[in-house]
């Protein structure tokens, strides 16, 4: 086993354990903090894949947003520290079946997909390649533009929701 394999197993294990704790821990804030740990594990795996841009974006967007998530968790819930209710509803078996099905189908997909091998040696500036392929008509310019428009719609929508209506004034 090479060093990078050992590192991958360590990071993957840390990510999985943290992700498990996110859904089992009773304290809402602790769950959010375990989510941070899990996302940092994913960022570490991105670093190991030489995807430095993806790794930093993972930290900027997700870990940075967790602080806001905690703000909402505190403001929208009552007595997060004292929650003692049951952690399962009666529909747990349905969720379990769905999760197993999802896991099985993704596993099958991953197993049968022909993954391209990593190019040997130095591939050059990965950020440059990423940036160029995002504006290349033969590559990802349409998904990129569609995502931009979607974000724009979300922005305008949030403004429309937050605007006070004319009658109430």
């Amino acid at each position: 086993m090479t060093v990078s394999q050992i590192l991958f197993i360590l990071f993957a294990l840390a990510t999985l354990v943290a992700a498990y704790l996110v859904v089992t821990v009773r304290n809402l804030i602790h769950a959010a903090l375990w989510l941070v740990a899990s996302l940092l594990g994913i960022a570490a795996i991105f670093v190991m894949l030489d995807a430095s841009f993806m790794a930093t974006v993972e930290v900027v967007l997700y870990v940075g947003a967790i602080a806001i998530l905690i703000v909402f968790a505190v403001m929208l819930t009552r007595r997060v520290m004292e929650d003692v209710g049951p952690q399962r509803t009666n529909n747990w078996w349905f969720a379990a079946i769905l999760s197993v099905l999802f896991f099985a189908s993704t596993s099958i997909l991953i197993w049968f997909t022909k993954w391209p091998n990593l190019p040997e040696g130095d591939v050059g500036d990965t950020v440059l390649i990423l940036g160029k392929s995002l504006v290349d008509p033969n590559k990802y310019v349409i998904p990129f533009e569609v995502a931009s428009v979607l974000l724009m719609v979300a922005l305008i929508g949030s403004i429309a929701v937050a605007l006070p209506s004319k009658q109430s004034e």
Partner: protein
């Protein structure tokens, strides 16, 4: 044995350490890990000891601004005041509130310092001396800074104190809003250099970027001060009006660690400004003797640091509505306008123009935006004054 170059002494010592370790018969990968651990240890300690000096400097200089003497009892010119303060903080009782979430309470301050120290990994001291020159350097510095926001939220929540929690809400709202103009302002030097790699950005500055992007530099400085939460943006912990803020429950050295994170953050923002806008290690004879770059870099960093101090002791504290207005109604639109303008003008300039004339054209374009902004601001303030005098007339008629 690698040759030792006096002009690049520290890097030579680093190579020498690697050579010595590999002579001991260690694997190359182990050698490079050990080398990096030693270098990281020295860098981290340099950063952690810097505030000892900068805190003394700040107290001394702000005392002069306010016609006082400042610390002058411990050591020559009060230089050892910092050590006395640290001893005081360490010997104080360390209280953890009984109902606090102990683990999160203790992780908070450590995470805050870590997030600031992490930024120093990508800051180039000289052309050859940089922790790790990753190709997303600028974005990395923003990403690691975002963890600091999380640390503040953790500290405020774990204290289990209403005022601490409210304080951390205030702080997070300010930090998150001022991140927007800061990132947009950092996009402009990235655009001009054509890379997010810190060392490339410095190398591309034949003419400092403060000439080609003066507005972006100013926006970055303002939002940087707001990110650190110092005057005039210290309404988060305005001592004279409200309970301190998120660190109200911290005592002794844990409080000291929060303060350390704040001072180090201020110094780090100055360092990033020096690297991105003031040409970092660039200066005369730096090609022959790269070690000189450290001197230039530190001079520029301390210059920005003193500029921030000057602002801090001169400008009065802003109100919370002014803080929000300045960000969302002024800095964000302005930074977006400058970004679009820079991208357009930079594309229109022919490739064979020299760096000097390119900077000059961009500078002039920036000045056009300054004039336009001032005209818009004048219009807005005239409207507001008219509305106010109308109101006054109405009141007088009653």
């Amino acid at each position: 044995m690698p040759e030792v170059r006096v002009g690049d002494l520290l890097v030579s010592l680093y190579d020498l350490l690697g050579w010595g370790l590999s002579e001991l018969g260690l694997y190359p990968s182990v050698v490079s890990i050990l080398q990096k651990l030693v270098a990281g240890f020295i860098l981290a300690n340099f950063c952690l000891l810097t505030p000892l000096f900068t805190i003394w400097l700040e107290r001394k200089v702000s005392a002069r601004f306010q016609d006082r003497l400042g610390p002058n009892r411990v050591g020559p010119y009060g230089l050892f005041q910092g050590f006395a303060d640290i001893v005081k903080l360490i010997t104080k009782e360390d209280i953890t509130p009984a109902s606090a979430d102990k683990t999160v309470f203790n992780i908070g301050p450590v995470l805050a310092v870590m997030s600031v120290l992490g930024i120093w990994a990508v800051i180039p001291f000289t052309s050859t001396m940089v922790g790790t020159d990753i190709n997303v350097g600028i974005l990395y510095s923003v990403a690691v800074g975002a963890i600091g926001t999380l640390a503040i939220m953790m500290g405020g929540w774990a204290s289990n104190n209403k005022y601490a929690l409210l304080g951390s809400f205030r702080t997070v709202s300010q930090l998150v809003s001022y991140e927007v103009p800061m990132i947009i302002a950092l996009l402009i030097p990235t655009l001009l250099a054509g890379s997010m790699r810190m060392n490339t950005i410095v190398q591309e500055q034949q003419v400092w970027f403060i000439v080609a992007a003066p507005i972006a530099g100013l926006i970055f400085l303002i939002s940087g001060i707001a990110e650190v939460g110092r005057a005039p943006f210290d309404l988060l912990e305005a001592e004279s009006e409200i309970v301190a803020g998120f660190h109200v429950e911290y005592t002794g050295m844990k409080f000291g660690v929060w303060m350390l994170a704040e001072f180090l953050h201020a110094f780090t923002v100055s360092a990033i400004t020096a690297v991105v806008f003031l040409g970092g290690w660039r200066g005369p004879w730096v090609d022959q003797y790269p070690l000189l770059g450290i001197v230039y870099f530190l001079i520029k960093t301390y210059f920005v640091s003193m500029l921030m101090l000057w602002i801090r002791v001169t400008v009065p504290r802003v109100r919370i509505d002014q803080m929000n207005d300045l960000n969302w109604k002024f800095l964000v639109p302005l930074s977006l306008a400058v970004l679009v303008m820079t991208a357009l003008v930079d594309k229109l300039i022919p490739v064979d123009f020299s760096a000097g004339s390119r900077s000059l054209i961009l500078f002039l374009a920036n000045m056009v935006i300054v004039v336009a902004t001032l005209l818009v601001l004048r219009g807005v303030s005239r409207k507001e004054q008219a509305a106010q005098s109308d109101l006054q007339a109405e009141v007088n008629s009653i």
